[in-house]
Symmetry: C2
Subunit: 674 residues, 2 copies
């Protein structure tokens, strides 16, 4: 049972509301509506239920909180300040200012106590699903009778916008399917959106929808003032361990302001005089700004001390666990450090040109079969394309609700369903949990665009997640242009902090995994073929890890053929044709342009020297290749439905046509530069 | 009441099933599961309810059909062949072959009778919502008492995968909100997906979910054989005019094959012997392939003749209408031709440098206010950012369910909700309806990535849709990196058949709209600023329509500054600084690279001659600029939360820094090329 509410709770809530307004006023920019409306539920949650240690925001068994309506971040900044996270009053005053730690939307890694970056609607909610999955998984693996090392709850506050986004529909359906009993979403139901009352665009029955997903749904009629009702609902939600819970909390947007309950309250900063009026209404000192009354401060200070104790108790529990289960404890410690198992990289297969040609998706399967048993933190699956993506390793067990009879929470293989965006957002959440988890997800490369909203956040938030994307070109063949990526490489390569890796053969596939699994702050997209490719002379894991390298060379090359993935072997063949015509050609493999660039100018100039004409070859848009090449063989239209062989021919992606284009380039070089 | 079913119906259904298998066998590639399972519902629909004229697939009041599970396209190809569309038996035999008109997934514009391109799951269903919106809208505008010119139904068949995708959740919620009574979705509920039975990943209650969206939900227990039940359900669905209907049809995937009811039936071609067995089971000749029994042919031929009459009757109706409502009839004819109102382009505002600086989103609002009343076919709205996108013109009326009290179906302004992907897919559907409709949608540019799956199909399907994307750079300011596009221009520019237009000032905004509204087969993305920009000397609508042009010049320029959008005025200022240092500089504005490229080499070389060093300036990823420039000012990391001014300074996007970079470039040129 929670401690009864009293006047101090009201004062705390109102203090949070007005300090949030002070921040927005000071920045003259921000969204007062949500923090004013959500302050009661947030205060109830953090004062009565939430287990965290604000002096160590990394404590692994902390409850997780995600403000999915990230535009309301002043709420979280104020509460985290009060709770004792590393956010000073001065930081609050610098809201939205240059280089401050209190940016306009919550950013993981920038502000202490922020679990995930939110703002793009629907992402936070979906991340919360991933966070809850991670807890269920680790609990299932490491908890022992009487010792629950992992048992935290995941809470999220979501707004109308979040629940309209398809990504949250996908994640909600997943959460219901997986019966994530420790996931609790508080729905800030204020009937208002930017375009007006929700009746202009959002008249579905959200509660019925969530019941249909398999969620428990609870309702709080007066979320502005009825703290008991909020607390009772959270308590009931916590007790239901076989279903996630949505608590519909009816609130008033901008509560206390003159625009309360209207769309104007959403994103218009209150003027200083208005805030003074609100303070008066709340019996707070209208002459002061950024004022935390002493009793409110004292109230929250007590929560800080309580939080310190939570971790202390857990540490004792872990000590006990370490004695009874030394092996498991050691493993947990390793995972908390983020270290991979020593020597895992020796499991990566190596190939020679004598080995049988294989599709790189198949070579990826070989890697997974070799490494997955050794790397328990590497977990993932496919968006309903397991048999095509080849992502299920031999000994994989399905992650499913324990008791479902088709797997349990200790399983590491995920059937994400045909939900690419939800998959990516859930992966981000799993990665954000910590304890070394490295999630992967898979679909056809072309459908990564369904997930772009979340893939961008993988990069921005520096999540180590791995996108295993197969069927990476017109090599798809008969499925046709709807399934053939063209612009995809360019779109992904232009995104900061993302390694787009397109291996050419077996050794390069091994390198791709090595890179992905050791890039702690950079997500990776592995682009893999449907069709077979040969193992190439000159390829090696070490070479490929440079992102680009000389695969095969001739003395005084007259032209450089630079390819990626399945086109590298075409370049090799084209070079052989050129050689017959006495044109010495170098072949460069460029599996990852961002890695290549990061090697520094002198290395790059060695591989791709200025004075030699360079022809890029990639079965995709030529957009972006001018940085590396003087001419490009590629595809600047959509693909077609036919056999892969026919399509490659059609687009001139065959050795003869490449050799011809190389000759053309040689004939124009270097005049073409002027 | 529909005609009773008899043996011939069964024969027709089984014929469709086995010819679909023959096609897949002949291609040795394709998906037999869906056509075999969906043949009964498709046959019932097309034989008893569907109104179309197969000899004129463009008849405007035809019922619309969308196979959202596009991998089952053999079903539609066979039926369209039987119905008399321009698909020969030979075309069926060339399924998935090079240059055939029967590609691996249905493609609009490639195959007669295909309304929209499907395959990427969830898109077709969402397009169907757009098609139904278009019908409701045109009916509301043009129908008159006793004369219903527009009253077609929209039918779609959807699979489990379609209903898992977030885009369909968004579109379904919209359809429920808009009470689209003439939209009927047949759900091929076969309990099977690629990864296995749906219980591994899809255990939500789909019917309850659709009820929550405001749909009528009907159920057919035996969709394999109970034709009456299917027909009764469709009849009931047609009668409910105040809600869209989902008919849950329980089917057996791959019905009749040895793998029926299992995931193997989904995408594995049946072997020739297996197909023979199926034929035997169905009492069809096992020795023949691509065999249409005479009675089946005759049965469908009757449907063709019936279809011809539908249009004849409609034409008589239209003649009657033309007499009673000559003005409206003239307008309909104009719209059917796809002609814009004559002289509309004179409404586009023109500016001089003396005019007040304005944000290009605001200038866009001016255009909308000027043209929207004159162009009734231009319809659209915003994904809950109306006040920020500035997309609602003065006289706009909301598109809402008639009787809702907050607008009606004749309204042209859409509150799409926070559903970017659904918005784009619905726009594609509206455009596909025809009758000249040009839909637009709006959100912050950065969130177009939520919609990428549908934006790609706008391009691939050649839909004339307009994405009005505001807040197009770090100029967003305080909202921070989650809201600031970086990779977005590159991602969009790499996509074939998409005009990405980033106007620099008022005249260029007018040009952007001119281009968008006259590009009948190319979608446009207008990228507009949040912040003010000045009107530039040298800009004009005519210049901007070339995609790139010399804005300001000096004799014998030593450097070219080439910018887009809000950075063009920075280039102008930088050129002035350079002039003070006696460095003559040319300023080039490049509002649309694809248009610029299409002007031909000689024009491009005049604007950006080879021998002069070129510096590109754009507040976004430099990826892709090497094609046009020797050096780039841009942003190859994520943005930040601060005032726009601070962020522009931080990234060197101010005249002083640009001028400095220009000098650096001059000093390195042309040595840097070698
Ligand atoms: Ca709201
Ligand atoms: Ca299915």
């Amino acid at each position: 049972m929670f401690d009864p509410f009293s006047e101090i709770d009201k004062r705390a809530i109102n203090t949070i509301r007005v300090v949030a307004c002070d921040m927005i006023d000071s920045a003259n920019s921000g969204h007062p509506g949500a923090p004013m409306g959500c302050a009661p539920m947030a205060h109830v949650l953090f004062s009565r239920f939430f287990k965290c240690n604000p002096t160590n925001s990394k404590w692994i068994n902390r409850d997780r909180f995600v403000l999915s309506n990230g535009h309301g971040c002043t709420l979280q900044y104020v509460i985290n300040h009060l709770l004792g996270y590393k956010i000073t009053l001065n930081d609050l005053k610098n809201f939205r200012q240059y280089l401050s730690i209190t940016p306009g939307h919550p950013e993981r890694g920038v502000t202490d106590g922020i679990e995930v970056t939110t703002g793009p609607l629907g992402q936070g909610f979906s991340n919360a699903v991933g966070l809850a999955i991670a807890e269920a998984h680790l609990a299932s693996i490491y908890n022992r009778p009487g010792i629950e090392l992992f048992n935290n709850y995941t809470y999220t506050i979501v707004g109308d916008g979040c629940l309209q986004e398809g990504v949250s529909s996908e994640a909600a359906s997943m959460a219901g399917h997986f019966k994530l009993g420790k996931l609790i979403a508080l729905y800030d139901a204020n009937n208002i959106q930017i375009d007006g009352e929700i009746r202009v665009q959002f008249t579905e029955d959200v509660c019925a929808r969530f019941k249909a997903y398999g969620w428990q749904v609870l309702k709080v009629d007066d979320g502005d003032s009825d703290l008991d009702a909020i607390a009772n609902a959270i308590e009931e939600a916590k007790k239901e361990l076989s279903k996630p819970t949505l608590i519909y909390v009816r609130t008033t947007i901008g509560y206390g302001s003159k625009n309360q309950g209207t769309p104007k309250a959403h994103g218009n900063p209150l003027k200083t005089e208005e805030i003074a009026n609100v303070k008066q209404l709340f019996n707070l000192d209208p002459t002061k700004t950024f004022d935390i009354p002493k009793d409110v401060r004292a109230f929250y200070d007590k929560l800080t001390r309580k939080g310190v104790n939570y971790e202390k108790e857990w540490n004792s529990l872990f000590d006990k666990y370490s004695i009874q289960y030394p092996e498991e404890a050691k493993e947990i410690r390793r995972r908390l450090r983020g270290d991979l198992v020593k020597g895992w990289e020796k499991l990566l297969p190596r190939y020679t040109p004598a080995d049988k040609p294989m599709a790189t998706r198949k070579l990826s399967e070989c890697v997974l079969n070799n490494i997955c048993d050794a790397l328990p933190e590497f977990i993932g699956g496919s968006a309903d394309l397991t048999g095509s993506n080849l992502t299920r390793w031999t000994n994989a067990k399905d992650f499913q609700a324990t008791g479902s009879g088709i797997g349990d929470y200790s399983g590491r293989y995920f059937h994400y369903g045909v939900r690419e965006h939800g998959m990516a957002a859930v992966m981000n959440g799993m990665a954000a949990y910590g304890c070394g988890l490295i999630p992967f997800g898979s679909t056809f490369l072309n459908f990564i665009n369904y997930a772009s909203g979340a893939v961008r956040l993988s990069s921005l938030s520096k999540h180590q997640v791995v996108y295993i994307m197969t069927h990476d070109s017109i090599g798809v063949g008969e499925d046709g242009p709807t399934h053939q990526p063209i612009e995809t490489f360019a779109a992904l390569r232009a995104q900061p902090n993302l390694n787009v890796i397109r291996p050419a053969d077996g050794n390069e596939v091994s390198a791709a995994y090595y890179q992905a699994l050791t890039s702690k702050e950079t997500p990776s997209v592995l682009c893999l073929t449907r069709q077979n490719v040969p193992h190439l002379k000159g390829s090696s894991i070490e070479n490929a890890l440079k992102g680009g390298y000389i695969l095969q060379d001739e003395p005084n090359p007259k032209v450089i053929l630079a390819g990626t993935g399945s086109e590298v072997s075409l370049c090799v063949e084209a070079a052989e044709l050129l050689k017959k015509d006495n044109i010495p050609a170098r072949v460069v493999s460029l599996p990852c342009l961002s890695l290549f660039d990061s090697q520094g100018k002198s290395y790059c100039n060695k591989v791709l020297p200025k004075g030699i004409p360079i022809l890029s070859v990639e079965a995709a848009s030529t957009f972006g290749w001018a940085k590396y090449a003087h001419m490009s063989v590629g595809i600047d239209s959509f693909g077609m439905s036919a056999s892969a062989k026919k399509i490659f021919e059609h687009f001139g992606l065959v050795p003869e046509a490449i050799a011809k284009k190389a000759k053309l380039l040689i004939s124009k070089f270097p005049k073409m530069l002027f």
